[in-house]
Every structure is written in structure tokens, then in C-alpha cells.
Amino acid sequence: MLEITPLHYTALSAALFIIGVIGVLVRRNIIIIFMSIELILNAVNINLVALSSQLQNLVGQVFVVFVIAVAAAEAAVGLGIIIAFYRNKETVNIDEMSLMRW
């Protein structure tokens, strides 16, 4: 029987992180990019909790609470910004963000 150790969680976190980074880089829809960013933040959370359990040290879990709080604040502001953008442009595709190019 395979025992699940903190190392497995770290691997899961690394995988989530990579999926999130790839999502940010290749997807064109702002909402999906935003979801990929949330995925990265959750990868961080899983990593912190797993390491906290591995190290028998609570600081990591305190960190997670702060990350969750900040992610919520960021989501609130971010979705507001995206709505303001959508009202003007009627699109959420980043390829349409082309007013400023050099």
C-alpha cells in the first residue's frame, strides 16, 4: 500500500504550479488566465501546508491563511477591473488589448 507523504503533496503542488504558469502563458481569455493564477496560489498553499506538516512548524499554515485572504482581496479587485474593461470593450480576450504597443 502506498503511503502518501508530504513529498507527494509537494509534487502535486509543483504540478499545479506548472499547469498554472502554462495556463497564464498560453490562454487568451482573461478569466481563464485569472483562474490559472488562482491555481498557482493554491499550489503555493498546498506546498506550504505540506511543508508545515513535514517540518512540524505552524508558521506555514499561518502563511496559508494570509495567502487565502490576499487572494480573495485580489479576486474582488481583479474581477472589478475585468468588468470595467468588459463594459468598454465587450470582450475578455487579451488579444483585443492592443491600444498600446510599441
Partner: protein
């Protein structure tokens, strides 16, 4: 280990931050109780900043750690907090006339500026990864909203979306790096991290964590190749916000970077020196070369500010007390010349002219000699011509690099300064030798005049009498690191 909870003296040392918080909340209240009184909000926010600055100055010479090792009240923090408060004050002075011309109510604008300042102050004081990260986000979230403050403007919208997406992305990368460092050291406190790292061998995972931290911070200071957001955000955001972003946010990110790398990751110094030396070279070169081709002033100054981040990074690479002093001096003089230049651009924003294109500078000398001469001074200072403050900043930076044997880095820096003169002087050519363009009269109100005067005085004063600034920076850097167990800064 101190007992659980805070001691009352913690609150005493947090007074500048607490005053700022109280002032910001008061602004929100006043905005609801007596709506449409922008002048009142302006006065209140300036008053809050002034009181906070005065209290802060009374902490000169203090060097203690408070809140059970979360915050350091030291000379380093004091130096940076002064940069933030002064730049916030100048930004607000620019904002009042700008918002009037744009026809936007001040509303929550000043509240957000104060919130951003508050976040920066925690970034300068924080000696724990959690505190630093909370400070960073307090600042960043306020800036996301500020960048998109002109809601009907497509450019402002676009700037906000881009800044938000890339800012949040960089936060994720930074946090992942922090989680790895936590995993390797078992602590989020920078001094404990330094001790733990000194006791262990370098590993691949640790290097990965270090690189992720460097990348995350690279986004915030807009270092190449993480600079893509900067030109677009700087161009689209309201001009005073751009100014604050390029000075305050950059200085705060450098404070955090110095804390993390010099205090926390001291054991990895040779490793991150390589990373930052590379970043410094590409940042300076790409920033300066891209700036040459710009026709929009805000965009040009964005690339120029990228290049300036490269110069400051040279000071970081030197990684000695002298290097830190040089970085501090540079960020301080940069405050005056950059905000001064943005004040002139804000003046050019009139009812019928957007005023941020290079051609809008045409014939400025004929229309407003004061603004043109001031702009000339700021451009010379940004280019590093003596006897301006910018020259002193560069001398100190390159001196620190040569001191540590990074002669090639100093040479790259000097070559880059020469390149940068081309596009700074082009502005001067437009101002003095081109025909006037259309547009209404340029009026300089009292707020803008004050901001301009502060910029001019700062740029000249620290150029001809830099000794005082050097001494202050020296004190700041000497106290810095005394809380860390590392002997890096000796």
C-alpha cells in the same frame, strides 16, 4: 522568545503607519459625509502625510525589532519610508489639478494613494516573508485600482487589466519561491532563514527558490525580461499614478529585494550576484535602447525607469554596505528627478490636449519658460550630467561596483548612460527648438508649482551638496543588517 501578544511600545513605533491608516479611513468617511469636497480630501490627505512624516522623523536613530520579529524599525526602513511619504505627497499635489482636468471626482483616489503608501512602509520595515508579502499586496491592490481609475478611458482600463494580471502572476511566482525557502529553512523570519541557510549546503531546490524569488521581485522592479507590463501600464494609467508607480512602487520593491536577498539569503550571495548582474545588464541595455524609439513621453519615461532599475541593480550586485548606500542614494535622487519630469507632463495635460506625446513638448520654452527649464534640469539629471543629483547617484553606483571588482558592470552602466542621453536630449530639442503646437495656455497652479519646486530644489541640492545625503544613506545602510545574524554588511 518574547511572550505572546504585542507590547504597547510596538504600537508606539508603528505610529507613522497607524496615523496613515487612520487618515485613510477618515478620508473614506469624509467622502461619504460631505461628498464633492475634493479640496477637503486633498487637505486631509496632505495633512495625514505631514503628521506621519513628522512622527517618523522622531524615530531617527532607533534600531529595534518589534511585533515579535515581524517588523524592524531601523534606519533603513526610515530612509525608505521618507522616500514613500515624500513621493506620495508630491503625487497628491500633482493629482489634484490632474483630476480636475480629467473631470474625475477624487472620491477614493487619495484613500488609495495612502493605502499604497502604507503597504510600501510595511515593505520597508518587514523582516518576515509574511509581513513583506502583505505589505507588497497592500500596495499592489491599491495600484491595480489606481491604474484603472479613469473608468471611461480604454487606455486606463487596459493598463489596469495588464497590471493586475501580470502583478498577480508575479505574486504567485514570488510566493512559490517563498514557500520553497520556508520549506528549506523552516522559518519565514529573515534572520532565522539566514542562520539556517548558512548551516546547510546549497541544493538545486534552494537555487530554484532563489530564482523564483528573484523573478518575482524582478516583475515588481520592472527588470528585463520581466518588464513587459511596465510601458503599457505607465502609458495607460493616470499620469500622477504613473509617477507614483515609477518612484514609490519601485523603491518599495527595492527595499523588499534588499531585505530578502542581503539579509535573508546572505549565504547565497555569489549565486544571486550572478542572477542580478545578468538582470542589471539586460535591464539597462534593453530599457535604454527601447526608450530611443518611443514617441510618447510616458512610455519613454517607462523605459527610462526600467533602465534606472538596472542602475540600482548594480548597487545590489555589489552586495556590500557601499552598494546598499549607492542604491539608497540613487533611489532618493531618482525620486526628485522622475517626479519632477512627471509634474511637467501633468502640466501639459489641458482641457483640449492629452499632452503626453513627445510632440506636445514642442515650443514649451516659448509658452512656459519655467516648465521648460525645469524639464531641462530633470532630463539632464536623469541622463546623469553634473552638477545634478542624477550624476551623484550614478557616480556612487558605479563606484560601488568598481570597488567590488565589477568593473565590466560599471563600464556597461556608463555606456548605457551615454545612450540614454540621446533620448533625454531629444526632449530638450523639442522644447527649445521646435515650433509651437496648438492647444490652450499652460497654467501652473499652486499645487503643481510646489511639486515642481520640490523636484527642482531636490535635483540641484543633492547635486551640489550630496554629502548630507551620503551620510544619511550611510547611517541607513549601517543600521540595516544589524538585526540579521549575517556578517554580510561589514
Amino acid at each position: 522568545m518574547a511572550a505572546l501578544g504585542f507590547s504597547p511600545s510596538d504600537f508606539y513605533y508603528l505610529l507613522p503607519e497607524l496615523i496613515l491608516t487612520a487618515g485613510a479611513l477618515l478620508l473614506l468617511l469624509v467622502n461619504v459625509i460631505v461628498p464633492r469636497r475634493d479640496d477637503l480630501l486633498f487637505g486631509l490627505s496632505m495633512g495625514t502625510l505631514a503628521v506621519s512624516t513628522l512622527v517618523l522623523l522622531s524615530f531617527a536613530g532607533v534600531d529595534i525589532v518589534i511585533s515579535r520579529g515581524l517588523l524592524a524599525i531601523d534606519g533603513f526602513a526610515l530612509f525608505f519610508k521618507l522616500i514613500f511619504l515624500v513621493s506620495a505627497g508630491l503625487t497628491i499635489m500633482m493629482s489634484a489639478p490632474y483630476l480636475r482636468v480629467e473631470g474625475v471626482r477624487a472620491g477614493e483616489y487619495y484613500f488609495l494613494i495612502l493605502c499604497a503608501t502604507l503597504g510600501m512602509m510595511f515593505m520597508a520595515s518587514g523582516i518576515d516573508l509574511i509581513t513583506l508579502f502583505i505589505g507588497l499586496e497592500t500596495m499592489a491592490i491599491a495600484f491595480y485600482i489606481l491604474a484603472g481609475y479613469l473608468k471611461p478611458s480604454h487606455r486606463s482600463n487596459e493598463a489596469a487589466v495588464k497590471y493586475f494580471l501580470l502583478g498577480a502572476f508575479s505574486l504567485g511566482i514570488l510566493l512559490y519561491g517563498m514557500s520553497i525557502v520556508y520549506g528549506m529553512t523552516g522559518s519565514t523570519r529573515l534572520d532565522e532563514i539566514a542562520v539556517a541557510l548558512a548551516a546547510q549546503d546549497r541544493s538545486l531546490v534552494l537555487s530554484l527558490g532563489m530564482i523564483l524569488l528573484a523573478a518575482g521581485m524582478g516583475f515588481k522592479i520592472a527588470a528585463v525580461p520581466f518588464h513587459m507590463w511596465a510601458p503599457d501600464v505607465y502609458e495607460g494609467a493616470p499620469t500622477p499614478v504613473t509617477a507614483f508607480l515609477s518612484v514609490g512602487s519601485k523603491a518599495a520593491s527595492f527595499a523588499m529585494l534588499l531585505r530578502i536577498f542581503i539579509e535573508g539569503l546572505a549565504a547565497l550571495t555569489p549565486d544571486w550576484q550572478v542572477v542580478f548582474a545578468f538582470l542589471a545588464v539586460v535591464t539597462m541595455t534593453v530599457g535604454n535602447i527601447a526608450a530611443i524609439t518611443q514617441s510618447n513621453m510616458k512610455r519613454m519615461l517607462a523605459y527610462s525607469s526600467i533602465a534606472h532599475a538596472g542602475y540600482v541593480l548594480i548597487g545590489v550586485v555589489a552586495a556590500t554596505e557601499r552598494g546598499v548606500v549607492a542604491a539608497l542614494v540613487y533611489l532618493w535622487v531618482y525620486l526628485f528627478m522622475q517626479l519632477g519630469a512627471f509634474t511637467v507632463i501633468t502640466m501639459l495635460r489641458r482641457r483640449d490636449v492629452v499632452g503626453d506625446e513627445l510632440k506636445d513638448m514642442s515650443g514649451l520654452f516659448a509658452r512656459s519658460p519655467i516648465a521648460a527649464v525645469a524639464m531641462l534640469l530633470f532630463m539632464l539629471s536623469l541622463g546623469g550630467i553634473p552638477p545634478t543629483a542624477g550624476f551623484m547617484g550614478k557616480v556612487w553606483i558605479f563606484g560601488a561596483a568598481i570597488d567590488q571588482g565589477f568593473i565590466w558592470l560599471a563600464v556597461v552602466g556608463v555606456v548605457n548612460s551615454a545612450i540614454s542621453l540621446y533620448y533625454y536630449l531629444r526632449v530638450v530639442v523639442f522644447m527649445f527648438f521646435r515650433e509651437e503646437t496648438t492647444g490652450s495656455e499652460i497654467t501652473i497652479g499652486p499645487a503643481l508649482a510646489t511639486a515642481l519646486a520640490v523636484g527642482v530644489v531636490g535635483t540641484i541640492l543633492f547635486g551640489i551638496y550630496p554629502q548630507w545625503l551620503f551620510d544619511q544613506a550611510q547611517n541607513a545602510a549601517a543600521l540595516f543588517g544589524s538585526t540579521a545574524s549575517s556578517a554580510m554588511l561589514r
